[in-house]
């Protein structure tokens, strides 16, 4: 078994990216993801890679666009306000079908918000952010180990489906230190015949582009892209179920909120409440099937998140409103205590949700 090392969440992302073969990082400083850039700045020059601090998030995502089009594994990282600026580029990257990895270590918003952990960019990550019909694969780590393994997975999925993979983390997991192991995960390489390499005067020129002035062509392109998205929705949802076998109540939470929720579930079980947890690991594709199956089993759901209630809309949607869903949330950088979540579970049991 691979050796365990003690690492900060943000550093785990950076190290995992390097192990996944990423040699190009473009970014702009923002709290609370700074360690990723610092790690890359130190490591990349030593291994023949590129770390470049761009003049803005807009520039950095467009550098990512260029590098992705050139066929290399490339990433950027930022936090909420920076992701807003990157949204333009995310739309172009989606419209051009090139792969990239983008990390959002979320902080509180809107506006400049705060620098404490948050999950209030769920809508932005899963429903768009940029303009146009597009999707990103959104991976939500709940531990430092997952910061690493989902980063490696994210690069693979991006290359496989020609999409952006977003790591949607939060300030707590970013700063947290835990022992992790870099499983000797094999790194797949993908042919990129579409990449800009120079024609070498051997082939017709490659064009990476998101412009289609003819309406029927643009529509066809979007339909083709959504056929690919449908495959992702079929094959790639990931989630964890905890104590769900006999559960009568189901807590739904991801990332840092799921860790608090897990403690509350254990405490509720001690009180004799049959409650379990579903933790989405991919927020897009959302683990619809797991939620719908649970909806036929449990009496009600409690959605725990660090926002005014964003994922709860998907929980309602994919449980087809078969059972009541209540919200237990804090925001602005506040984190609900296990007692608050326990109280929400008790209320669910009493049918007060």
């Amino acid at each position: 078994m691979a050796q365990k090392v003690l690492m900060k969440g943000n550093e785990a992302i950076a190290e995992a990216a390097i192990r996944a073969g990423c040699r190009h990082y473009f970014g702009y400083p923002i709290t609370p993801q700074t360690e990723i850039a610092a790690y890359m700045a130190k490591k990349m020059p030593k291994i023949g890679g590129v770390f470049l601090q761009a003049e803005s998030e807009i520039a950095s995502i467009n550098m990512v666009y260029g590098a992705a089009a050139a066929g290399v594994r490339v990433m950027t990282s930022s936090s909420s306000p920076g992701i807003s600026l990157k949204s333009e580029g995310l739309s172009y990257i989606a419209g051009s079908d090139v792969p990239a990895l983008v990390v959002n270590v979320q902080r509180g918003g809107p506006g400049l918000g705060g620098i404490q952990p948050s999950q209030s960019d769920y809508f932005q990550a899963t429903k768009g952010g940029g303009h146009g019909d597009y999707r990103m694969i959104v991976l939500a780590p709940a531990s430092v180990q997952e910061m690493a393994s989902l980063t490696m997975k994210g690069f693979d999925l991006a290359d496989k489906y020609l999409m952006t993979s977003m790591i949607l983390a939060d300030g707590t997991i970013g700063q947290m230190m835990e022992p992790i192991s870099f499983e000797d995960a094999e790194v797949n390489t993908y042919e990129k015949p579409w990449a800009l390499t120079g024609t070498n005067c051997q082939r017709k020129h490659n064009v990476v582009n998101s412009l289609y002035l003819k309406a029927d062509e643009l529509e066809a392109k979007n339909i083709e892209r959504y056929e690919r998205y449908a495959i992702v929705e079929e094959n790639e949802p990931m989630w964890e179920e905890y104590m769900m076998e006999d559960a009568e109540y189901c807590v739904v939470a991801y990332g840092i909120a799921s860790r608090v929720a897990k403690n509350a579930v254990v405490a509720a079980r001690a009180e004799g409440i049959k409650v379990g947890l579903i933790r989405p690991i991919t927020l897009w594709p959302f683990p619809k099937k797991a939620l719908l199956a649970a909806a036929d089993k449990v009496k009600s759901f409690v959605c725990v998140e660090l926002s005014m209630g964003q994922m709860i809309e998907d929980v309602r949607l994919y449980t087809e409103c078969k059972k009541p869903v209540s919200l237990c949330s804090r925001c602005g950088g506040m984190i609900p205590s296990p007692e608050e979540v326990l109280e929400a579970i008790r209320k669910a049991q009493k049918g007060e949700n």
Binding site: N62, M63, Y65, G66, A69, Y92, S96, T199
Partner: protein, 252 residues
């Protein structure tokens, strides 16, 4: 029989969509000729802008990418840093390069990013139908300055070459024009040098080409060329604004 003129290899055999008399066609040809003559067609990667030249990706036969509005220097940076052995150029208008993309332009220059930029200054937003550009002249009538550009209200035109030449970073900044044969020949030389610099690893080279937009200037192509001479060039004089290598050689 000797061939005296033929279409450059790097230019595709397709009809260009530009208006009659638009210098974009001439500038495309100059870029393609430079690429051909330097023998870099197989390793060149071009970055098209948002503007009238948006479909340049269909016109050049080299690998191409279409960048977001103003972001071409950043996109080019990403490509060049991934494939330093390739030759990377951007082709941008004044709205693209000097308004929305000013930060990307200045910082690519400051980094002496080893890329080549062809900057087409036609003092107007062509593609969107003739709005005021950062380079529109004082008093110039456009769709969004219908009473003439009032510098007290919306500021002064930006002289991009002069401004970039104040930076330590860039290797080569020059302004040329394409309003007559003599100027076209000089423009060709400058464009070729801007690519040659990149081949030699010298760094950021930008050629500002004073162009024209007969359609949105509301002029015939002949009138437009005249206006370039009488109004544009006095405000935007041609010349070499920075040439680090030449300056160093002169010092030695």
């Amino acid at each position: 029989m000797a061939v005296v003129f033929q279409k450059p290899k790097s230019l595709a055999d397709v009809p260009l969509h530009y208006c009659p008399g638009c210098p974009h066609g001439i500038i495309h040809r100059l870029v393609a000729e430079a690429i051909d003559e330097l023998g870099i067609e197989g390793k060149t990667i071009g970055v098209a802008p948002v503007g009238c030249a948006v479909m340049a990706y269909d016109y050049f036969t080299v690998d191409m990418i279409e960048a977001a509005h103003g972001r071409a220097p950043a996109t080019a940076t990403g490509i060049k840093r991934s494939r330093p052995e390739n030759i990377v150029f951007t082709y941008q208008g004044d709205g693209d390069l000097a308004s929305i993309g000013m930060a990307e332009t200045v910082h690519a220059a400051a980094r002496n990013e080893n890329i080549t930029i062809i900057f087409v200054n036609n003092a107007i937003y062509g593609m969107t139908g003739g709005q005021m550009a950062p380079t529109s002249l004082p008093g110039q009538v456009t769709q969004t300055s219908p009473y003439g550009r009032d510098v007290n209200h919306c500021g002064w035109p930006i002289k991009v070459s002069e401004m970039l030449a104040t930076l330590e970073g860039p290797e080569y900044i020059t302004r040329v024009a394409v309003n007559n044969v003599k100027n076209v020949l000089a423009a060709k030389k400058a464009i070729k040098k801007a690519f040659q610099n990149q081949i030699e690893g010298k760094g950021f080279s930008l050629v500002e080409v004073v162009s024209a937009c007969p359609t949105n200037w509301g002029m015939t192509p002949q009138q437009a060329l005249k206006w370039v001479e009488t109004d544009m060039l006095p405000y935007y004089p041609t010349g070499v604004y920075k040439d680090r290598t030449a300056a160093k050689e002169a010092q030695e």
